[in-house]
Subunit: 364 residues, 2 copies
């Protein structure tokens, strides 16, 4: 078996605690001969700033680019509210996305039946929900130039951000969405604000063009504001939703929150396949943040982090069977009634991060 | 009593049907001597395009600017999907906002107790909900330049939109939000993406500065993606939320949808007070759209439109008592069990647009 390299960036807050559980899982899959992962570890976000006064070191960026997959925890916290803007924790995330060129962000929003009750929506609206948000991750207003604040004198400043999209960027993310829809329920909603934004006009034009290559997939245009509404109203109408970086940020958070399973949701960010090796750079992280309020207490839910590792098995290493096994172990533990504090329920046992990790490992 | 001038722009789709009910209401308040409104009417959106090949005529823009208040229905529909971009129905709305300089968009999201069951959220999360979204309406990515699509050759294009905010624009909308919070529950959440956008950095800096003038109002910063999540999770934590044009578009739609009362929600857009007369330009419209799917059937809900007129009485003409009476009439009709199709319930009587308008008038 070829050695596969993983670069682990636990980050800040609960990121470090939940990564420990993934490390235990990897130690086990390696020792069982199921995988042959070589591991390296780095610092990102506030922890990198504390050690090196940068959000991420050049050395760690190089390592991330060299690895077969990056497994990322979460960054940020009030401790670093006043660090220089370019070195704020989030800068690590944005830099890695750009340098790895992982333009395709897959954010599944799945409602685990055992947790449907935890949703703020009525049970019947979310039970069985399975939406995939495909978010463009390396373009748009996140990276467009100019991005400046100018002092105009007299106490006045002008701030400018620029949303830029080129045809090829929209084309490639649309293809990812259509390809994935084919493995699911053959339906794509493309969300933009073409009634206000020129980037929306181009987005819609390109997505419709790509759609011609996928006559078997239903394509619907939806305005981003209406998409947010419809997610709240009748989420099950959606299968795959493709959208730009900024709308994707918001819409994927709405979709995640609907499920009642925020602490359970993983994500993947994938680059283009290398023309020679076919390999694609990849970056896996939980949808939730670094939760500074509960960090250090050993109570964080490691499931989204472990599920992100399962996505890595599936998308980076084609270890479908093992990915299925890990996901089945998560479901089994939930069915046994084990819960971390964030998903605590009456008549269910509330356990900590370490116990949850151990319970999942025991199922394997 | 001084004559007050209203300019009515019913627009397209159900806009024309629900405006009829407002006209009846105005005829009655005028005949009772409660008001002395002079009325004029214009065309906006698709209906203007059909008549004059523009989204709104120069003449109607002039009339809108001269009126004490503009009462707007809704614009748009598939019929006009292929009109030139600059004359699409929405262009009328954007042009009027800009020309009237109505920068402060007040979008209340109220859950009528009688309708709490219609929400997709669990009843206890939305019953009694009363949020006010204060959306900046004349700046940001809606109007910033450049806003272009450039042909790069080889089938490639580049689309650019520009988000621009200056200190004064943020300062004045923040003051509106703080002033309104003082009439409510003294709490403001300011939503931006300062972790990614420079306009968010400036937004936060200016709002915090303005907040110093309102030490009695609690100010919270919230990231826009988290705001969307929190609206879905526990909406009642919010009182006033102030945000930019684009985030306001999405967040106000989420907030409106939560209430189960979308067809009931009015909005106001206000300009700065004239330094001499103290008058402010104002624009009132329902939150819902033109609903082309049900247009022409006489079944649209006129309540949001009538409630928008009540907002005009309150904010443009200081007729607080009459505004209260109109709002009480709406509540009374709902308590009587009358419903239009969009809010139909078992054991409640479903009626049409005209009957609903008449029922509200009868209560007055
Ligand atoms: C932390 C932040 C920069 C990031 C984003 O805005 O993309 C986060 O919200 C996300 O969705 O991954
Ligand atoms: C119709 C459209 C231009 C408009 C907007 O985006 O502002 C609408 O969605 C709204 O919220 O009033």
């Amino acid at each position: 078996m070829a050695t596969h390299s993983l670069f682990l960036l636990p980050g800040d807050g609960i990121g470090t605690e939940i990564m420990v559980e993934v490390e235990k899982l990897i130690a086990w899959t390696n020792s069982e001969g199921l995988t042959d992962f070589s591991l390296d570890r780095g610092l990102a976000g506030g922890s990198a700033y504390d050690a090196h006064q940068v959000a991420i070191t050049e050395e760690d960026v190089v390592k991330a680019k060299a690895a077969d997959a990056v497994i990322f925890g979460a960054v940020g916290g009030p401790k670093w509210d006043d660090v220089p803007y370019d070195q704020r924790p989030e800068a690590a995330l944005l830099r890695l996305r750009k340098e790895l060129a992982v333009f395709a962000n897959l954010r599944p929003a799945i409602c685990y039946p055992a947790l449907a009750e935890a949703s703020s929506l009525k049970r019947e609206l979310v039970e069985g929900l399975d939406i995939l948000i495909v978010r463009e991750l390396t373009g748009g207003v996140y990276f467009g130039e100019p991005k400046t604040i100018t002092d105009l004198g007299d106490g006045q400043k002008r701030a400018v951000d620029t949303q830029v999209y080129e045809t090829y960027e929209i084309d490639r993310i649309a293809r990812v969405a259509f390809d994935l829809a084919r493995t699911r329920r053959n339906k794509v909603h493309s969300a933009d604000k073409k009634n206000v934004m020129k980037s929306g006009v181009l987005w819609d034009e390109v997505v419709k063009g790509v759609g011609k290559d996928y006559p078997d997939v239903e394509l619907h245009h939806i305005l981003a504001d209406n998409a947010a509404m419809q997610l709240v109203r009748t989420p099950k109408q959606f299968d795959v939703m493709v959208t730009d970086n900024l709308f994707g940020d918001i819409l994927s958070d709405v979709a995640a929150m609907l499920t009642g399973s925020l602490g359970m949701l993983p994500s993947a960010a994938l680059g283009a396949p290398d023309p020679v090796t076919g390999k694609r750079k990849a970056f896996y992280e939980p949808v939730h943040g670094s939760a500074p309020d509960i960090a250090g207490q050993g109570i964080a839910n490691p499931i989204a982090m472990i599920a992100s590792f399962a996505m890595a098995l599936r998308y980076s290493f084609n270890m479908i069977e093992l990915a299925d096994r890990v996901e089945a172990a998560i479901s089994a533990v939930l069915s046994d009634g084990l819960r971390t504090g964030d998903i605590a329920q009456d008549n269910r046992k509330t356990i900590g991060t370490e116990e949850m990790g151990a319970a999942i490992l025991a199922k394997l």
